[in-house]
Amino acid sequence: MTKEHLLFTGFVALLLLILLSMPSSAGLQMGLSIGSLNATGWSMENVRVDLELIDRNQLNLSLAADSFTHQALPGVLEGIRLDCPVEQQQQSYVCNQGRLHIANSDYGSQDLEVSGVFVDPEHLSVDIQGMRFAHGELKIGIKLIEGGWDASLHANRIRLESLPGAFIKDRLPKGSVVSGVTNLKLKASGVMDQAEAIDLTLKIAGFAYADVEGLQVAEEGGFNLSLNAEQRGSGWMGKTKLSVSKGQFYSDPFYIEVADEPLHLQLAGRWKPGSDRLYMDESRLLLPKVLESRGRVVIDTNSGELVEAKLRLHSDDMGALYGVLLQPLLIGTMADEVEASGLMDSVVQIENRELQRFHASLEDVNLDDSRGLFALYGLNGQMTWNREPHADMSKLSIEGGQLYRIDFGKLDIHAYAQQGEARLNKPIDLSLLQGTLHIDQLNAEGLLGEQPQWTTSAQFKDISLQALAEAFDWPTMEGMLQGTIPRVHYQQQRLQLDGELVVDVFGGRIRVGDLLIEDPLGRVPELYADLQLSGLDLTQITQTFSFGHMTGGLEGEIAGLHLSSWEPIAFKARFNTPDEDKIPHRISQRAVDNLTALGNGVGSGLSSTFLGIFKEFRYNRIELKAILNGDVAELDGMPHKSGGYYIVKGSGLPRIDVIARNRQVAWKTLLERLKSIRVEGMEMR
């Protein structure tokens, strides 16, 4: 309360006192005109105060002014007239049915009901109601008691879009649109010009907001907000509760729809004027069906960033958590199309604006990539990551899953994760394809940087070829394979084998060298490799492929193998009988038929000739070469004088040779032949 204010109030009070203290002064009138009344924060022009004594305890007070300005009010109030019947009650003067008329203001003309009690300049109260404001109505109350004050504001059905710019629009990003209907109750108390306590309740219906780019949008929102705060020492303490009952909200990139169950946010904290830190000692956020978060946070009031936090996050539905909060952040990555379910309970710790610790307990979590790259089922256990070195180990058990359509069984993972590194604490034994994949080591580095990389090495044992063929929709195979993967290195979307992948299969060995897969999880994986085949047993191979019975050895190579999207587009292959092969060379009718078909598409028709009585034939050498370049494969074998080439050179009697004539064949056609195995242009003799 300023001195000028006290002076004016005291002056009017003095007039009242003089009039009402006169013994019999009914009908007495007094008037006072002041050209200009100025004080700190407010001013009035052409003020006139008229007093008319009604009886010993009553008088009429009239105050008129051409204009009134106050630093707390926008614009100028013009044409002010206050009429107030004043009654003396003991030591106070009471006005119960006063009227305040304002001819013009930023809020239009106003005709208000006024009531008040005046004891002395430090003890008075004023209530004003009926103020039309933003298509709603305001009620204002002010009470002064011994240097302190209480104020109340009730706002009913205020339309946000009709509020003067200074209230909302000027505080929002340029071009933003806001609308809605609000009811507000505000109580505040303080001393002099300092507030000491605030109690606010706000209810908004039909809330809509959109910024100019559409990155922050609310539609059909309905919520209640309560806020209580009071001054404690040199700072403030308070708590707030926000309850969103309905609406659709988009805050790029997150979208939340509230319908059946309300979203709750509760905060209790403290703040010191002049400080750039807001301390929320208790916080609770409930996103219905998605997530509940509890904990404490410290917020930088300038940037809005989390400076420190320790939050416990709980989700009963990982699917909803992924859909609402994770997937929007992962759009454009290979993890943006995952179906998830299960429970998660986690603790997140942030210090100095950086994530320091993350711990999660997972319960019956399932993750299934819709693209078919991976799936994990029945995930249970603890995951721990720390920025600083620590001794906490992540222990996860997985009931099963899929990787590139290959099913795998139960596995346990024990690993350490800290900073940008993760490593296995003990080897993993993965059951897949009826065998085992033993992963010795798996180290990941640079996970927090732009170029993460990892290395691993493994051995596989007793892998079923039949299961492998089924997984990749290959022709039926039988048998087992064993092998060693020396060191696989992944960096910058390139998976590279440092050394040779050795596979023991069909009684021999396949060595895969210079293996490189570019962008293995991307849209167009490219695989490059060179394969050497040695010591293979045709008996096992032909049994495996249901090709027809053959005996003998086989060796060869597939050089420059290039797969694009896992389909071959180039290679230079050769398969032949080893020069010093000691295994008897036999080929069945069916195998002859199929080899013939492989060359040209039509079977030999051997069974319809007299040779059909022989089940097997002897052969000297088998050789088949194929060069694929794009869509065309070039076939070759052992040279034949007539211009064709031997695929099978027979021996003994009855002798049978398979000689092919066609050298070029479309790769697509060759694949079809592999499936149907019928040939033209073959010569049988």
Binding site: G214, Q248, P253, Y255, G522, V524, S564, I569
Partner: protein, 210 residues
């Protein structure tokens, strides 16, 4: 003197020969390939009402073609004719653009499958073709709140496929360095083949409606 006189044509011959055997980006073939793919992806229903004529080759003049003009004189033309006889025709012929690799087929199929869902947003103006051969959200406000992340994912997938397609066409043709030229060609063809009403970015990045 006579030797020196005779040496000049052969020196010129050698110089022209160097120019002739340059493998430059086959703009016309690339445009034909791009148009084939774009029409396949956009589908017949989405074909523009009136097809624009294909831009003339000179609009794609590059340094190598400009260089060739320097030698465009009667003498060098004659020498070039001799060189054409001496050097196998394959070197002078316009190479074809191969768009038949398995990866390209898969990418085309994925893009075509996505097209129906994308078309709704192209038509509304929410999405548009960028001047670098990709797709971008032009006006997020035209997409319902509920669908925004679905559309953003669709755009990310489409752009992933488009980038892979341009790189794969260059790679499949044994010329990875052509990727940018292929992307530029596609950027132009997407706009030319887009139906009326679709939005696209001009060279300066301003959005325009076709």
């Amino acid at each position: 003197m006579l030797k020196r006189f005779l040496a000049y044509p052969f020196m010129a011959l050698g110089l022209v020969a160097c120019v002739t055997i340059n493998i430059y980006f086959p703009a016309a073939a690339a445009e034909e390939a791009a148009r084939t793919i774009v029409r396949d992806v956009l589908g017949e229903d989405e074909a523009p009402a009136q097809q624009k004529p294909a831009p003339k080759e000179e609009s794609k003049t590059d340094d190598k073609q400009s260089l060739q003009k320097i030698f465009d004189s009667p003498l060098t033309n004659t020498l070039t004719g001799i060189v054409d006889l001496l050097i196998p025709s394959a070197q002078a012929a316009q190479p074809n653009i191969d768009i038949a690799s398995p990866a390209i087929r898969k990418l085309r199929a994925a893009m075509a499958d996505r097209q129906n869902a994308m078309a709704t947003h192209y038509r509304s103006g929410a999405l548009g073709f960028t001047n670098n051969g990709l797709v971008a959200v032009r006006d997020l406000k035209l997409i319902s709140l509920r669908d925004r992340n679905k559309v953003k994912k669709m755009v990310a997938d489409e752009n992933g496929d488009r980038k892979a397609l341009y790189a794969e066409i260059a790679r499949a043709n044994g010329q990875p360095q052509w990727e940018k030229d292929i992307r530029d060609t596609f950027a132009r063809v997407w706009v030319e083949e887009a139906p009326n009403g679709y939005w696209y970015q001009d060279g300066k990045g301003n959005w325009r409606q076709k």
